[in-house]
Subunit: 296 residues, 2 copies
């Protein structure tokens, strides 16, 4: 992805794979596929080894129906250093499967620290012994609360940056929907910031995207109005109650303008399906792919 | 810290050590103390080994004048799995030096993921092979943008949670100071949430604290009014322009109600001091300690 802008590469991959589905990887050591729980590994790293085996199996099963994968950093961080080593392996496996990698960490910090996160996620860190490679993510999620100067070092990486605009959790309304004295909701103010920070690339979309919960489709048309060139990353399908059918407004400017993220809906499809995990995940990812692709 | 509430333990340590200073650890492999750059280590982990040696030396030098230390997670994450292993060692070194550990990661995510961050920072993760221990931090910073339901799993750990209320960076005003239709600034709304989420402990302070930049002392009196029992974590002294002398309002309810965080001001004191790094750091930490302690 070195030569093309993120948005252009994304648009090309969406077209090539005919998919707008993002495979969410939120591995819980207590809910892994049986193939993974049987995995070997040294003492301290057994949980991490099992999580890695699980993620590899999930990518192999559902990856072909997806355009990207989105590892949830918290799920790897809670396993310590072995978890981070596993995360790097998951990124490698996703890249090998032709998937764009969106690191989901929702980072946000003062500019000097934002620059360190940029190095960690999509850059490298200079050191007297030579540069230390970061995670190698193609894109990542970011929290905008600290403002423009805190987002700029993240955007400067050239990676895709998906800024939280309106999240999918029930409590999101409390702060994100609060009405401003100047009119509009707080999230709309964030949306304007996202629009200002992005520059449309050749494909018409920008490298600065927006996270908008698939659980609040009533906001999508307004969000698209405020951010005509942003790629929307839409989590909350399935377990959280969002429905692909309600997301058409996201795809209005272009097929790559909406990315539907699904984690448990795909990975745990077997629980309500009766098939073995890989077959169920493959079928559900393919079902979602077709459903989204048909919306435009 | 298993038996006492976080706030009570903090108050006891502040009294014992006569210090409200938090030693910020934001190690940059290009700006380490000479003792650290000389450190050995295997190929991929050399930067992490050097960072660890640096942090240990900083804790040994400046720790006695401080009550807590605050590792900046980004600075360890950018060194990959060896960086996380180093972070765990830094936490152990800080605990051995009698310091409370505040993990500075400013996490914020939907409830299910917030629970994973809680496990990562101040809990453990159940796995079929037995629980995987987290970082063991006594407290951590958190981003409130996702609302109450996203903060609750973090608070449920029993660790201290320092919620971003008004940050120290120049761009913070753009979103945090925006005026609400109902009156007041966005950050004041967050402050009310912090107050609602906290329960005063025996010492009168709550486990739910607030991050407020030392660069905006004009907000401190109002912040204290809105959050009478919150511990304020005050970053931005020194390099960012904040002055300890301006922070008296933070300490009004109790000495432990204000924690002054200093990173570069202590660690890089030698650059403008002429002494060797450890002596300069010790002297600067002690100077800040006296300055803050005299404010009340």
């Amino acid at each position: 992805m070195a030569t093309r802008a993120f948005a252009d590469e994304l648009a090309a991959r969406v077209a090539l794979r005919e998919s707008q589905i993002v495979l969410g990887l939120d591995p819980d050591p207590q809910r892994l596929w049986p193939v993974a729980v049987a995995a070997d590994g040294e003492a301290g790293g057994r949980a991490a080894a099992a999580v890695l085996a699980h993620c590899r199996a999930v990518i192999a099963a559902a990856g072909p129906a997806c355009v990207a994968c989105k590892p949830q950093l918290a799920c790897f961080e809670r396993l310590g250093a072995p978890g981070i080593a596993a995360l790097h392996e998951v990124v490698a496996a996703a890249h090998a499967a032709g998937l764009i990698v969106i690191a989901d960490g929702k980072r946000g910090d003062v500019p000097v620290t934002a620059a360190a996160y940029a190095q960690a996620l999509a850059g490298s860190t200079p050191a007297p012994f030579g540069p230390v490679a970061g995670l190698g993510a193609d894109a990542f999620t970011a929290n905008p609360l600290l403002g423009r100067d805190a987002l700029e070092p993240l955007i400067a990486t050239g990676a895709g940056v998906f800024v939280l605009v309106r999240t999918s959790n029930p409590g999101a309304a409390e702060l994100q929907d609060v009405e401003l004295a100047a009119g509009g909701a707080f999230w709309e103010r964030v949306a304007r910031l996202v629009d200002e920070l992005g520059v449309p690339r050749a494909c018409g979309l920008s490298d600065v995207g927006a996270v908008i919960g698939a659980t609040v489709p009533e906001h999508l048309a307004r969000a698209r109005e405020l951010m005509p060139s942003a790629v929307f990353l839409l989590p909350g399908i399935g377990a959280q109650g969002g429905r692909v059918e309600d997301l058409a407004a996201a795809f209005a400017p272009a097929r790559a303008a909406g990315l539907v993220s699904a984690s448990r809906a795909i990975v745990e499809a077997y629980a309500s399906d009766g098939r073995e995990p890989a077959a169920a995940a493959r079928a559900e990812a393919e079902r979602l792919r077709e459903l989204a692709w048909r919306l435009r």
